[in-house]
């Protein structure tokens, strides 16, 4: 597929599932350049002028289409900020598969700041999948994703955001503004190890009646890694908000969770839950009595938890 070496191909598969040129619209960004771009009849991908990034314009009534926009960095020391703007029409149902993989074998940090902004029309559904990972023995693999969503009336967005492994530093910002009857579901999976740092800030503004947000964050922090999680739900109408942050802490890690609720309407129903703890000993015991070693049992529990 395309002109990629084995490491790049593996990364591409890991973060986006892509092993060959997919059907429909796509943009493959490798080492700061688009190495393949294709628009479909209903999804137009246009490069920006004056700054890095693309506009993705999706026509009204587009249904069942998938757009792939993965990013790979294998050149050590590459630093980039990429602005991708999505203009999604009315009555659409589309899937966006993003994701970024960094391979770094050099002495300089590689940094990708991906700023994704979604302008979603009325009564549309967007599925957004973003996986991040880093590999290689070199310096920092740094990913700072910003995802902003402006959801029109009756629209719905489901976000699945995963940081699988190997990302040395991540500062994530996810922000959503919801109009009447709009819904957003944010699922976040964070795994940190070594001396990694991951920050995730999620802010939801529930502006319209019957808007709702559901945030489910699951995180595992191993070794000496540090995670800071904050969610902030602001209810300005008759709305529902729920935030659940669940973290497994291991070894010498540190996890900080700060869920916040701000109700500005008497009919705003906002709930948050946060739990941090080590792997439950009865879970380990159960799997060990099935013949797994402690290490294997831990791995099974973590894999299941982050699935």
């Amino acid at each position: 597929m395309m002109d990629l070496d084995k490491i790049e191909r593996d990364l591409m598969r890991e973060v986006s599932g892509v092993t060959e040129i997919p059907e429909g619209a796509y943009n493959f960004r490798v080492n700061g350049k688009s190495i393949g771009r294709h628009s479909s009849d209903r999804i137009d991908i246009i490069p920006k002028h004056g700054k890095s990034g693309i506009d993705i314009r999706i026509a009204n009534d587009t249904r069942g289409e998938i757009a792939h926009i993965p990013v790979i960095i294998s050149a050590s020391g590459l630093k980039e900020a990429v602005y991708n703007d999505f203009y999604i029409g009315d009555n659409c149902e589309v899937t966006i598969i993003a994701g970024c993989g960094i391979y770094n074998c050099g002495a300089d940090d590689s940094i990708h700041d991906g700023i994704h902004t979604f302008y979603v029309g009325k009564n549309s559904t967007v599925y957004y999948i973003e996986k991040h990972c880093g590999i290689g023995p070199g310096a920092g693999k740094i990913l700072n994703p910003t995802t902003k969503l402006f959801l029109g009336e009756g629209s719905r967005a489901e976000l699945l955001m995963e940081q699988i492994k190997g990302v040395d530093s991540a500062r994530r910002l996810t922000e959503a503004e919801l109009k009447k009857d709009a819904q957003v579901m944010i699922k976040e999976r964070l795994f940190t190890h070594g001396k990694q740092l991951a920050e995730s800030k999620i802010v939801a503004h529930l502006l319209g009646d019957n808007s709702s947000v559901d945030i489910v964050s699951r995180a595992v922090a191993q070794d000496y890694s540090v995670q800071n999680f904050s969610s902030h739900i602001i209810g300005k109408a008759k709305c529902r908000g729920h935030s659940e942050c669940d973290a497994i802490i291991m070894d010498n890690a540190r996890v900080n969770a700060e869920p916040a609720l701000d109700a500005q309407d008497v009919d705003a129903e906002l709930i948050h839950e946060a739990a941090i703890g080590k792997i439950a000993s009865d879970q380990l015991m159960k799997l060990m009595t099935l013949g797994l070693s402690r290490r294997q049992a831990e791995a099974q529990i973590i894999n299941g938890f982050l699935k």
């Binding site: 060990m288 009595t289 013949g291 797994l292 529990i301 938890f305």
Partner: protein, 237 residues
């Protein structure tokens, strides 16, 4: 098959020593089904944990197939052929019924062909529809009875030479209870080499037993053929 020799287990409570098991000895032969019963607090669950290697003996020995396993941990004992069904099933966030049965039956290999049929059969045995349950997470969305049946399925999946069930009937409705009796009967029928120990208060389970052991205050109060022990049990209570 399995011998428990002079097993003692003590815990410290403040400055005091609390004796949970006091010089317990018994043995289980291949093909035998033994029920252990006795009042609450008599040490039955502790005995199960000690056999499984979840708790370690203070004194005494556990011998499995003529090998002293007293110092082996629960992983090693599981690999040597001991299966243990917990009284209170464990919740997992994220692990599915399929994952658990997969771990139990194949040590982590993927289900395919016969294996999948085998797993469907396992859930059926405990009265659960595999289509409905295989991909469910093992968490509080399942009822106590469902969790218990999944726990039992995970232990049957191991097909171990020695299996100990700790109050398998707890939390199970009458329909599933009848299934459960059938599970034990089938386990016996399928192998004359495998031994089963069931900790239970249920008369119908006791009636399945070749032998019944009654524990009281951490000691063996009675050990004998089931009809004799059933007849004599009034005196112990």
């Amino acid at each position: 098959m399995l011998r428990v020799e002079n097993a003692s287990f003590e815990v410290k409570k403040g400055r005091k020593k609390l004796v949970i098991l006091d010089d317990v000895s018994f043995s289980v032969k291949p093909g035998e089904l033994v029920v252990i019963t006795g009042p609450n607090g008599s040490g039955k669950s502790t005995l199960a944990k000690i056999i499984a290697g979840v708790e370690m003996l203070s004194n005494g020995k556990i011998i499995l197939n003529e090998q002293d396993v007293s110092t082996k941990d629960c992983t090693e004992r599981a690999r040597m052929g001991i299966a243990y069904s917990l009284q209170a099933p464990v919740h997992f966030k994220g692990l599915t019924v399929r994952d658990l049965l997969q771990i139990a039956s194949t040590s982590g290999e993927t289900f395919c062909g016969e294996n999948l049929a085998e797993v469907n059969g396992l859930l059926e045995k405990v009265g659960l529809d595999s289509g409905q349950y295989l991909d469910r997470e093992i968490n509080s969305s399942l009822s106590g009875g469902e969790l218990k049946r999944i726990e039992i399925a995970s232990v049957i999946a191991r097909n171990a030479s020695f299996t100990i069930f700790d109050e398998p009937e707890a939390g199970i409705d009458i329909w599933s209870f009848n299934n459960l009796i059938k599970v034990f009967k089938d386990m016996r029928k399928n192998s004359s080499e495998h031994a089963i120990v069931i900790i239970s208060h249920q008369e119908r389970i006791m009636q399945l037993a070749d032998r019944i052991i009654v524990l009281k205050d951490g000691k063996v109060a009675l050990d004998g053929k089931s009809e004799k022990v059933l007849a004599a049990m009034g005196d112990v209570k």
